[in-house]
């Protein structure tokens, strides 16, 4: 029998309006005829939808009081998972990012600097403070034309008004309304959203200038128009939540426009192979990057996204030499719509360490200025973004945080397809819960607020342009870190 994890509770203020039952998409709350509300606690995912919509604040969710016998080695989750696997023989499936507490969040052990006396801090609301970022390749040398005039020999760049972009999340994993909200927000903010590997719905073609289209191993919905209806193209090698693992969107979700956009027949599974079977080596990556450039007339930057794994530094160096313009690195805590739990929780390394080692490696190889780096995977707030940039990223990308702006409470049930917030689902009754216009406005608010905070932080350090923050590791100090960790992060200890 399924273990009850949460308990749905209500107090006497309940007016029996049954709103909670209508909102619950997991079948945990039932409006039984004549009997009022019936709770099926074992179905509850703690998504907080019912709580958010209860007009009188009567309902709430608690952890179930029942506990397994305490054991310091075999925790309750361990035992529960053994029971489930014994029953089913199945690989455990999960979603969102690794929730574990045993892997440090380095962002929380890094503190920022501020100016005092020797250098003025800056009030960002009243003085100029620049957050524009240009992503793309830089040639090694300047070029001069006639009369010694400088010739612009820069390959195409992406221009971001703020160093925050939206991570790749595919149509199929999330709803079209989410894509609409992301696209509209990216356009208003002057940044970019990313289609993920599920193709680009035709209704979003007008957002071309702020769209990054992805080419993944499944090549869903990839065609000439797709590649050219974008500001940049991203080759996805891997993602932080499931490095080395492909994707599997079940036939049940391949319906209607998802089928059309992915160009996969209705009802047929959409399988993303684990690797690109045309990339078995680094020179093959160069071939794919260059073929995409050829197909798009060298008019757009090509990005390569890889998961942060143990040897990410040399991998990034290889990517940089493959002709790619931008390297996107997704850390251990990155989210997903569905991934094997053991992979999500055990494979890869935290983004902080990955960015630090990649940035340092590219500098040692003297090619850091040639490419741009995007960091993602567990960026929760503006301070995380600032720290990622000071460690060496050009910009950050947010997925989970963007979904939270749209209502997500990280119940990590995306893989069920029953998302009560209308985000990770294709059920039309659920997807209509998310109004793309209102969603876009919330995304814009979020990114604007973070951008203002980034300016406040930069101002405190006396830095008035984001490029002077990039790789500026003296702006950082560690607490609670050992020598090795400080060494990899390339920062001093607080007080040093």
């Amino acid at each position: 029998m399924m273990r009850r994890r949460y308990r749905i509770m209500k107090d006497e203020s309940c007016i029996s309006c049954l709103r909670c039952a209508r909102e619950c998409s997991f079948g945990a709350i039932e409006a039984a005829d004549g009997k009022g509300l019936v709770f099926h606690h074992q179905e509850c995912t703690d998504c907080q939808r019912c709580v958010s919509f209860c007009p009188v604040g009567a309902i709430y969710i608690t952890e179930d009081g029942n506990r397994f016998r305490r054991n310091a080695v075999f925790g309750e989750d361990d035992i529960q998972q053994i029971h489930l696997q014994a029953e089913t023989g199945g690989v455990l499936l999960s979603s969102m990012g690794a929730p574990g507490s045993s892997v440090p969040i380095y962002f929380d052990r890094i503190l920022l600097n501020a100016s005092q006396v020797t250098n003025p801090s800056i009030d960002p609301l009243r003085e100029p403070m620049e957050t524009s970022v240009f992503l793309g390749q830089r040639p090694e040398r300047i070029l001069r034309g006639s009369e010694g005039r400088l010739v612009d020999n820069l390959p195409p760049h992406l221009e971001l008004s703020t160093p925050i972009m939206f991570s790749a999340m595919s149509y199929g994993a999330i709803s079209l309304n989410v894509h609409k909200a992301l696209a509209a927000a990216a356009e208003e903010l002057g940044t970019y959203w990313n289609t993920g590997e599920g193709g680009l719905h035709e209704s979003l073609y007008p957002y071309k200038g702020n769209t990054i289209v992805q080419v993944a191993s499944g090549r869903f919905g990839v065609h000439g128009t797709y590649l050219n209806t974008a500001a940049a193209i991203e080759v996805k090698i891997g993602q932080g939540a499931k490095p080395g693992i492909g994707g599997h969107l079940t036939g049940a979700k391949i319906i209607g426009d998802v089928s059309k956009t992915r160009m996969v027949p209705e009802g047929l599974d959409a399988i993303s192979p684990a690797p690109h079977h045309d990339i078995y080596s680094i020179e093959d990556l160069a071939q794919l990057v260059m073929s995409i450039k050829e197909a798009t007339d060298y008019s757009k930057p090509v990005m390569v996204k890889a998961a942060a794994v143990h040897n990410i530094a040399p991998i990034a160096s290889g990517i940089a030499r493959s002709g790619a313009d931008i390297i996107s690195i997704d850390g251990y805590r990155g989210g997903t719509g569905a991934a094997p739990l053991r992979i999500r929780d055990n494979v890869g390394i935290p983004i902080e360490l990955a960015i630090a080692s990649v940035d340092q490696r590219l500098r040692e190889e003297r090619i850091r200025d040639r490419v741009s780096i995007i960091a993602s995977g567990g960026i929760r707030n503006s301070a995380d973004a600032v720290k990622a940039i000071a460690l060496g990223a050009d910009a950050v990308s947010i997925g989970t945080a963007a979904l939270c702006a749209l209502g997500c409470h990280i119940c990590a049930s995306c893989h069920t397809g029953r998302c009560a917030w209308g985000i990770a689902t294709q059920d039309p009754d659920l997807t209509r819960r998310l109004d793309p216009g209102k969603g876009a406005a919330r995304l814009v608010n979020l990114v604007n607020a973070w951008t203002r905070e980034i300016k406040e932080i930069m101002g405190g350090m006396g830095i008035n342009s984001i490029e002077a923050l990039r790789g500026n590791r003296m702006a950082l100090r560690g607490v609670g870190l050992n020598e090795k960790e400080l060494g990899i992060l390339g920062i001093g200890y607080a007080g040093e």
């Binding site: 609301l125 009243r126 003085e127």
Partner: protein, 238 residues
């Protein structure tokens, strides 16, 4: 009138003179001349150093040539009149009195000048200024006449950034370069020119013995904070 050579008497000697009028000669970079002075008149020859007439609290400081940085810093009352130009950070946080500069001012003139009750700070610059004029202005009046720069930009970039009270008057029809959208610019009507600008500018002209008519010639524009665009809306309490 008594004349003192600063190289001999030092700041101490100047401080001792009380409410009389003296000429200070031989100045070359000596800082803090007239600092906190409450009464009397100093006539300065040479190039006085930084923080001239800072905290000035009455009395008059007249400079023959140029002033360096941070003149009239946090000035409270009295008159500073510079016959030449002033350096950067002129009249920072000035709370009252008159600071007149016949020539140009450097960057960040009149930053965070204030007004409170009877006290109202007045800064008049005859020439032009560098960037960030009147940044964070919290009260008082800044006037830039642009004498000799007719038809040209008479302020730098970021004029009035972040100001939330007070007024910047410019004798020009040109809107300052990259003026913040949190500020409003308006043309000064005849009545305001007569009531507010004429008395100040006439006084300015008489201090330097120049023609007030020339200083008042042509139209003025005024820059003020746009009250509808407060910064508080940018915050959300946790």
């Amino acid at each position: 009138m008594e004349a003192l050579d600063i190289r001999e008497c030092g700041l101490e000697g100047i401080r001792k003179h009380g409410d009389g009028e003296i000429t200070v000669t031989g100045c070359l970079g000596e800082r803090y001349i007239g600092c906190g002075m409450k009464e009397g008149v100093l006539r300065i020859k040479g190039t006085p150093g930084n923080a001239l007439a800072s905290y000035l609290d009455g009395g008059t400081v007249l400079v023959d040539g140029n002033a360096q940085d941070a003149a009239a810093d946090t000035m409270n009352a009295g008159l500073l009149a510079v016959n030449g130009s002033a350096g950067d950070a002129l009249a920072y946080g000035m709370r009252g009195g008159r600071a007149y500069v016949l020539g140009d001012a450097g960057y960040r003139a009149g930053v965070h000048m204030k007004a409170y009750g009877e006290r109202k700070s007045i800064l008049v610059i005859g020439g032009r200024t560098g960037s960030f004029l009147g940044e964070y202005l919290a009260g008082g009046i800044i006037i830039v006449l642009g004498l000799g720069y007719e038809g040209k930009d008479i302020t730098g970039y970021f004029c009035g950034n972040g100001m939330y009270a007070g007024t910047i008057y410019l004798r020009t029809g040109k809107v300052p370069l990259n003026l913040s959208d949190k500020l409003v610019k308006r043309n000064v009507e005849e009545e305001e020119k007569e009531d507010i600008l004429r008395p100040i500018i006439t006084d300015f002209a008489s201090v330097f013995s120049i023609s007030a008519r020339r200083c008042l010639e042509g139209g003025f524009i005024a820059i003020e904070a746009d009250g509808s665009k407060s910064y508080s809306q940018l915050y959300a309490a946790v």
